[in-house]
């Protein structure tokens, strides 16, 4: 006989009971391990998806401005390339729209289409396309059907520059193709995407030549330095060898890119312009800040003094009379800012005129006269606004420029090559043939045709280059050229080549596959989510195990007392019980693993089907790792042992004499001591509850968090106090005249079991009420300024940004709309620039590493609106103004949706994160405020001025918010949306009600809650079924007692009433406790009205809990009502 032998003997002897305990442990393990397996499966699935989507691609470089495909060949020829990488493919990638060419009800159009051309990796015949199933379904097309793809036209010139061609016909083109193949399945041909997201892309592969023919604009008069159309690309994809697929590989690749790159790849050229002079120019017109500095440094290193040039077009140059009014003017004169104007340096408030401009029949100017300039600048919405040098900030020329000198018409005084190519102007033979950009009004009567004939675009007016930078400098660059002596051009070129980097042209490789795989470990662990959702199921199983184990101990109390009487110490008795429990836990957990696999398979199937709204993909599959199996098993064993620990601990405290007498429980004196401890604990917890309720007032917690956790603590406190009262025997009421009172008194005869039963039911009611309270109701009225839509009832998203303000006639014209159509005036439009990036809303399961960012214009900041959830300390009532506050550490303020900040970014107001700008440089962003339930879940919000400095190439409005004017009906807005969608189809727009967007976000939250409810319901079923088992078994124990009542003459009906009263009281108490404490917990949430409570549904759910519980009682009652025999009496 050994201790092990005794344990094994006990396990077998009480096998029926042990089976039930092990089953409970198995359920707990199945739920825990299953949840972990779900987390693994989602993580692995996202990772697999990320890898599959990219196919052979490990690194990618995507640029805003096009470059020559030759760069890819030079890169591949770099000595380091072959050692680490396999191949490099150049291609084109744009984002646009698509439509079928059907009409009427069959017509369909869609946006957000990824259009790619990768000859060499995905060859498509001319005139054909390969689309994926998602796009095919959206367009309702089959193989052989014609479709139109709307594609953006690539431009070297920044869209915000003065001379940018912003009209519709210069922005988008239509590529007509026939569907050659529909790519099905989950291979990269059907799923390719450089973005990390699990949502299916709309994908179209086209012939590279076809795409180039549409997207490449060849502006008139452009330099020959541009790549040939057949060579234009904006994408390089690299397949790496095994050891170079990650971050280190990208570093190696970028180093090789730096070696392979030449000045032409950045759009730069150094060429002779005048005898003895060479000039560095850019086909993008402006050199750009990085290159400008590199040119300055290169000139210094080459030992030359560079001539920095910044050229602009002035609408008018006015000589001021003594009274300040214009005395004479010339119009449409080219102004050059030079570091060394003709005749030598000039001060910041001085100006130089050439003889022609100063002539008697023009400005009639002399040295010392005052001259002012007026010129166009792009406003925040891209409109051209005339400004005057008198109004320009940071100049000392507020009163006008002083004429410093007048230079002859020679050399710099008449140098047409100072002026870069401006399409529509410098390529025109006469001013009469000028084709200026939209919004620029040229009065040809005022133009100096004679000058143009003779000198062309040669500048007539010269200022200090610093003055020029202050007057018309912009984020995309100040200088249009840098001149050096021809003799030093080669040295200058060499020094410049050493200093320029690919990043200055926005060229850098990302280890896109490694990044996307890392992002697949999303911000929220699905395993943890499902453990949270399965909490009630796990808790119910644990409580059931505790109940059954405690019952088993009670049944064996005499045996345990005997062991004590024989001299088994308390610790030894506990260890024996624990060893039995551990054996059961091992068996239960092992069986539970099989259940876990089934549970997780079921959940994954659910995520692919019923709950697909929450995850947005059907590509999730079951994936189980050994580590998770081991962790789940261990966790299941731990939960099981925790469940029984209470009974085991109490076992050691019981006196042998009491156990031998069949009295399970601690002696009365210990009960009293335990009662004091329990009362103190209960009171402390109740005090803690008050503290949690009050904390939100002090700003320590949100009201929702404070009250919810307070409600939970209050429930725990109530259970502790109840247990204490019952253990002290004070729960027993005097047995009165009615048998019901006997039943009520009996409810406290087994305090441990009763409290567990009450706790189980209270938890069920608590979770039902809290879930019902947090369910999102109908989307609130989006026309309210304080709603999540800020008063904007519609939102337009354009894949090809709109370069026109819908509020103005000029803007509408630029967009190709009928400017006078009254429908456009039914609403006010707020355009926002968009830096494309990851959707950081709840619709994206992947980790946000490069979020999409919106530029918030000043008008919207001043307008205010929306509802703020949290913000950093501020006195400002309009918290949008936080976006414009300067910070000591140069962190850029941003605003985010509160759910996004909390669950995806894991940031609180005041926290910072890092993002890369267009050139790949890291910038620190500081979260200054969050919006409550907003339409901006998917992006960060940044002040437009700061946005432009980080993303100068992302011009035009990618998002337009639409606010109906007073009196416009919902039907009117619906018509406006329809017209916008149809009229702006070339810009690949999606126009939808903001309510729809909010509803999509809410659907995700409600889907998770519905899943929680379902799992909670399973737990409730388990709990009440177990409760029924416990009730039945306890009644079996008490058969002799009930037999005695029968022998004494209690009729079956009265015995029925006794049993029902006892257990119905526990049932009611549990549901009441849970409902009341949960009700207190969710009071602030319900009070805000953001989550209207469906009282009818909640009542039905709670009624369901009571019904299931009562059913359990009926079974028990039937047992009580049966006839007892004298043999039952002898069992006492």
């Amino acid at each position: 006989m050994t201790s092990l032998g005794l344990i094994l003997r006990n396990l077998w002897h009480f096998r029926r009971q042990n089976l039930a305990i092990a089953a409970g442990m198995a359920v707990a393990t199945a739920a825990l391990a299953g949840a972990l397996m779900v987390g693994d499966s989602v993580r692995v699935s996202l990772r697999d998806l990320a890898i599959r989507r990219l196919g052979p691609v490990d690194h990618a470089m995507s640029t805003a401005a096009p470059f020559d495909a030759d760069l890819g060949e030079r890169l591949a020829a770099d000595p380091a390339f072959a050692a680490h990488f396999k191949r490099c493919i150049a291609g084109l990638s744009v984002r646009g729209g698509a439509s079928n060419r059907k009409s009427g009800a069959q017509a369909a159009q869609t946006a957000g289409v990824s259009i790619l051309a990768l000859d060499g990796w995905m060859d498509v015949a001319p005139g054909r396309c390969v689309i994926n199933r998602t796009l095919a379904e959206d367009l309702n097309v089959a193989v052989g059907d014609p479709i139109d793809l709307t594609v953006p036209m690539l431009s070297d010139l920044p869209l915000d520059s003065l001379m940018a061609r912003r009209q519709r016909q210069n922005r988008a083109a239509v590529l007509r193709v026939t569907v050659g193949t529909i790519a099905d399945g989950d291979g990269w041909e059907a799923t390719f995407s450089l973005q990390s997201s699990q949502r299916a892309e709309r994908l179209a592969w086209v012939n590279a030549g076809d795409l180039r023919a549409k997207v490449v604009r060849r502006p008139r008069g452009r330099a020959t330095s541009q790549p040939a159309v057949a060579r234009v690309c904006n994408l390089l994809l690299v397949q790496a060898r095994a050891d170079s697929a990650g971050k280190e590989g990208a570093v190696t690749l970028n180093e090789a890119l730096g070696r392979a790159m030449n000045l032409g790849d950045l759009g730069l050229e150094i060429a002779p312009v005048e005898p003895g002079t060479a000039a560095l120019t850019s086909r993008r017109t402006y050199l750009g800040p990085g290159i400008e500095q590199a040119a300055r440094d290169a000139a210094e290193a080459a030992g030359v003094q560079p001539q920095l040039v910044s050229v602009y077009l002035a609408n008018a140059v006015n000589r001021a009379a003594a009274d300040g009014r214009p005395a004479a003017s010339i119009h449409y004169a080219v102004v050059a800012g030079l570091s060394e104007p003709p005749g030598g340096a000039v001060g910041p408030d001085e100006i130089v005129l050439n003889e022609w401009a100063a002539g008697a029949d023009r400005l009639n100017a002399r040295v010392g006269d005052t001259v002012r300039l007026s010129y166009y600048r792009r406003g925040p919405g891209g409109e051209l606004v005339e400004q005057s040098s008198a109004d320009a900030p940071s100049t000392s020329a507020g009163q006008g420029f002083r004429v410093a000198r007048i230079v002859p018409m020679a050399g710099l005084g008449a140098d047409r090559k100072l002026t870069p190519s401006f399409e529509g102007m410098t390529d025109a033979a006469t001013i009469g043939q000028w084709d200026p950009p939209a919004g620029m009004h040229i009065d040809r009567k005022l133009a100096d045709e004679a000058y143009w004939d003779r000198y062309g675009p040669a500048p007539q007016v010269f200022v200090n280059v610093r003055t020029a930078e202050r007057l018309w400098g912009d984020v995309f660059g100040d200088l249009t050229s840098v001149r050096v002596p021809a003799a030093s051009a080669e040295a200058f070129a060499a020094e410049l080549r050493r200093r320029v980097t690919p990043m200055m042209g926005g060229m850098f490789f990302r280890p896109v596959k490694a990044q996307n795989v890392a992002a697949a470990d999303g911000p929220t662990d699905f395993g943890q989510i499902f453990i949270g959702m399965s909490f009630y199921l796990i808790a119910a199983a644990g409580l059931l195990v505790a109940l059954l184990f405690g019952l088993g101990i009670e049944q064996r109390s005499r045996q345990i007392g005997l062991l004590g009487a024989l001299g088994f110490g308390r610790g030894r008795v506990r260890r024996l019980a624990l060893a039995e429990a551990a054996a059961l836990a091992v068996v239960g957990a092992s069986v539970g693993l099989a259940g876990a696999a089934g549970y997780s398979w079921l959940v994954m199937a659910g995520l692919r089907t019923w709950w697909v709204a929450a995850v947005g993909t059907t590509q999730l599959h079951l994936a189980v790792t050994p580590a998770t199996v081991a962790t789940g098993w261990a966790a299941g064993v731990a939960v099981a042992l925790l469940a029984v620990s209470g009974a085991v601990w109490r076992l050691g405290r019981a006196e042998a004499a009491a156990l031998l007498a069949g009295a399970w429980g601690v002696p009365t004196m210990a009960r009293r001591r335990g009662g004091r401890v329990g009362r103190v604990a209960g009171v402390l917890m109740a005090a803690g509850t008050v503290g949690l309720f009050v904390a939100p007032m002090a700003g320590g917690l949100s009201p929702q968090a404070g009250f919810l956790s307070g409600g939970g603590l209050l429930l725990a406190a109530a259970l502790v106090l109840l247990a204490t009262r019952w253990r002290a025997g004070r729960g027993s009421r005097k047995v009165g005249a009615a048998v019901v009172s006997l039943g009520l008194a009996n409810a406290s005869r087994n305090p441990g079991r009763s409290v567990l039963a009450v706790g189980l039911l209270a938890l069920a009611a608590f979770s039902l009420v809290t879930v019902a309270a947090f369910r999102e109701g109908e989307v609130s009225d989006t026309s309210r300024k304080t709603s999540g839509a800020g008063g904007f009832t519609a939102i337009l998203q354009a894949d090809i940004p709109l370069a026109g303000d819908l509020n103005t006639a000029d803007g509408r014209l630029a967009l190709g709309l009928d400017a006078n159509d009254p429908i456009w005036s039914d609403a006010t439009y707020v355009g926002m620039r968009l830096a494309p990036g990851q959707d950081i809303s709840c619709l994206n399961l992947t980790r946000p590493t490069h979020p999409a960012i919106l530029g918030v214009p000043e008008a919207m900041i001043l307008r205010g609106g929306f509802a703020f959830a949290r913000n950093i300390d501020t006195q400002q009532e309009n918290r949008w103004l936080l976006l414009t506050d300067a910070s000591a550490d140069d962190a850029i303020p941003v605003i985010a949706d509160d759910d996004t900040a909390t669950y995806l970014l894991k940031l609180a107001p005041g926290d910072t994160m890092s993002v890369a700008d267009a050139g790949g440089h890291a910038h620190t962003l500081r979260l200054v405020a969050t919006l409550k339930g907003s339409i901006f879940q998917g992006q960060l919000l940044m002040a437009d001025a700061r946005f432009r400095s980080l993303f100068p190439a992302d011009a035009g409005d990618g998002v337009v918010l639409i606010e109906p004017k007073a009196g416009v009906t919902p039907a009117g807005m619906a018509e406006l949306r329809r017209r916008l969608s149809a009229s702006l189809a070339d810009f690949a727009v999606r126009v939808e009600p903001t309510a729809d967007r909010l509803a999509r976000y809410q659907e995700v939250a409600n889907t998770y809650l519905a899943t929680f409810q379902l799992l909670g319901a399973l737990g409730l079923l388990l709990g009440t079924a177990g409760l029924a088992v416990v009730l039945v078994r306890s009644l079996i124990e008490r058969r002799s007692e009930l037999a005695l009542l029968a022998a004494m003459g209690f009729a079956p009906g009265r015995r029925l009433l006794l049993v029902v009263a006892e257990n119905a009281w526990l049932l009611l108490l549990g549901v009441l406790l849970g409902t009341v404490t949960a009700g207190l917990g969710v009071a602030p949430t319900v009070a805000t009205g953001a989550h209207p409570l469906n009282f009818a549904a909640l009542a039905a759910s709670l009624g369901g809990v009571l019904l299931v519980g009562l059913l359990a009682l009926v079974v028990a009652a039937r047992l009580a009502a049966r006839h007892y025999t004298p043999a039952d009496l002898r069992r006492e």
Partner: protein, 230 residues
């Protein structure tokens, strides 16, 4: 193995149970002195505190006041672990309900006693076999309690109580659940074995016959033990 001579000295033991009102005094200044080999039957009406006294002597319960010593040891001054060891090695209990583990055979039930002290070795097994033979249960050693008669179960319980050669042997109505004939046989056997062991024997019984077999009787009534000093 024989232990050192151990006297049992019970000095003014009282036992109170707390109630809602005044505490209920079950034992009132009980004193008793016995030496090895002494036997006494404690008789008295129901509710007089006989089982309470037995539980205190067996260290299953604590006196409210007063002291109990077995030999040089005050068991209530020991820690929980030492008390358990004390009980395992110095005290043998026979209960009215026999309290055999239903899942263990007769032999295994007997071997619970040495298991309580630590481990079961060959000496213990040999002693168990010998004792079972002594009580005529050799061929029943492998049977479960459910397969034994009431008298057989009680004989197993008696053997179990004697396994560790206790200094003090306590019996609470050892024949209470047996019919007269079985009771007499078991009673005779029990007393014989007790005498052979040399242990101090305290028997609580309602049975006049058993009390007569024991020899000396003490009466416990109203918590007072009469004729309690030897």
């Amino acid at each position: 193995m024989s232990g050192t001579p151990d006297s049992l000295v019970v000095d003014q033991v009282t036992r109170d149970y707390p109630t809602a009102g005044e505490p209920l005094r079950v034992l009132r200044g009980v004193s008793l002195r016995m030496t090895p080999g002494d036997r006494v039957a404690v008789v008295g009406p129901s509710g007089s505190g006989k089982s309470t006294l037995l539980n205190i002597l067996g260290t299953l319960d604590r006196p409210t006041t007063g002291s109990v010593r077995l030999g040089a040891t005050d068991p209530f001054a020991l820690g929980a672990r030492e008390l358990a060891a004390f009980r395992a090695s110095r005290i043998g209990f026979v209960f009215q309900e026999h309290h055999l583990l239903g899942q263990c055979t007769a032999l295994e039930n007997v071997l619970l006693a040495p298991l309580a002290r630590g481990r079961v070795d060959d000496a213990a097994r040999n002693r168990a076999a010998a004792l079972l033979e002594r009580v005529g249960l050799t061929d029943r050693a492998g049977h479960l309690p459910s397969e034994l008669s009431g008298g057989e179960r009680q004989r197993v319980a008696i053997v179990r109580a004697l396994m560790n050669e206790p200094s003090l042997l306590l019996a609470d109505e050892p024949t209470g659940n047996l019919d007269a004939q079985s009771g007499r046989r078991v009673g005779d056997l029990f007393l014989e074995l007790a005498r052979e062991s040399g242990a101090i024997l305290v028997v609580v019984t309602h049975s006049a016959a058993l009390a007569e077999q024991v020899g000396r009787s003490l009466r416990l009534e109203g918590g007072v033990l009469t004729d309690g000093t030897q």
